[in-house]
Symmetry: C2
Subunit: 201 residues, 2 copies
């Protein structure tokens, strides 16, 4: 497809570098932008420039932040003795959304995945170990996705923290709310029976 | 969902203004960008700024262009007596892709759609009439989508050009290549029988 403008083509190229966006969608998005006011396109460009220049990562938990410490780590009301280990920033937001956790986080920035060439040294695992060794942490909650890679990473962290005086827990796995039992996979269902808990009204 | 960074939130806001992109996808795209080098984000921002500042519309056919006249209108090899009327820039690219058309274009910038508040004065119809009245044009091909709005626009243009000494044609409508006859809608199938053409080997 020959694009009639060099500038249009460059913008389309940039959009099509994004995940899940092909050339046709990129063209549709760019032409949609062009139909808006020029100031709107400038606002988009400015937002990206500011994103590139200003976003930091919390020096404690590696969550995205505008300051040296994120709002969660800087909050004295949170329970700093309980650290929830998650894969990425979205997971922090998802757990915060539940309003069920008052502790703090540690964002790994991914999970161990030899297929994608991601090893332990590419993740914030060493900094987690140092954080725990620094003292003051009573419990580390492993809250990674229940996948092969997540389980591998869980196991690796468990081994790394073995010498530390800290309780290591993992989030409950079982049948999800509103799931139909008959369609639940057998590993999940089997585990949910083995790991049954006391019925509470 | 509480976003931990103001700059992240602003970029997410901009992405979610695009068609078909919700908050969750916008967040995914922005975090994907953040994982790339800062220079890559700047390149994206620069592409958008240049798009806003530099893209022009051809003064003859209203196609997107980097110059006063687009490369098609400026090409003396093209047949300037045959003007193909299309809805938008993508349609120009789609027809160019077929390599079956050596004439020039006229981009309306939409179709008449009272439901969306788009009337004839919002489109490049008056400029088409003036272009035809200017002389030198022998045929106007109406190549709008075969929808209610496209048909209305076809009819409106046909009426507007009624007094001009110009042949007005419309692209063939019928059963698409590789379509199964039994699944073709009856309007299309009926019209393809009425408008049958001589068999050519």
């Amino acid at each position: 497809m020959e694009i009639p403008s060099l500038y249009l083509e460059r913008a389309v190229d940039q959009f099509s570098l994004l995940p899940g966006i092909g050339r046709k969608t990129a063209m549709r998005l760019t032409l949609h932008l062009l139909r808006r006011d020029r100031e709107d396109i400038h606002a988009f460009a400015d937002a990206l420039t500011e994103l590139a220049d200003n976003v930091k990562y919390c020096t404690v938990c590696h969550n995205i932040s505008d300051e040296e410490q994120c709002s969660i780590c800087a909050n004295p009301q949170r329970d700093h003795a309980t650290v929830c280990v998650v894969e990425n920033v979205q997971d922090v937001m998802a757990i915060e959304q539940t309003q069920q956790f008052r502790g703090v986080y540690h964002v790994l920035g991914g999970v161990i995945s030899p297929m994608d060439g991601i090893g332990p040294s590419d993740l914030q695992i060493q900094s987690l170990v140092e954080r725990v060794e620094g003292g003051g942490i009573k419990e580390v909650i492993l809250a990674l996705s229940p996948t092969m890679e997540g389980d591998t990473t869980d196991f690796y962290i468990y081994r790394k923290l073995a010498g530390c005086d800290v309780r290591i827990t993992t989030i409950a796995r079982g049948v999800a709310q509103n799931d139909q039992l008959q369609y639940t996979d057998e590993v999940t269902l089997g585990r949910s029976i083995v790991n049954r808990v006391e019925f509470v009204m």
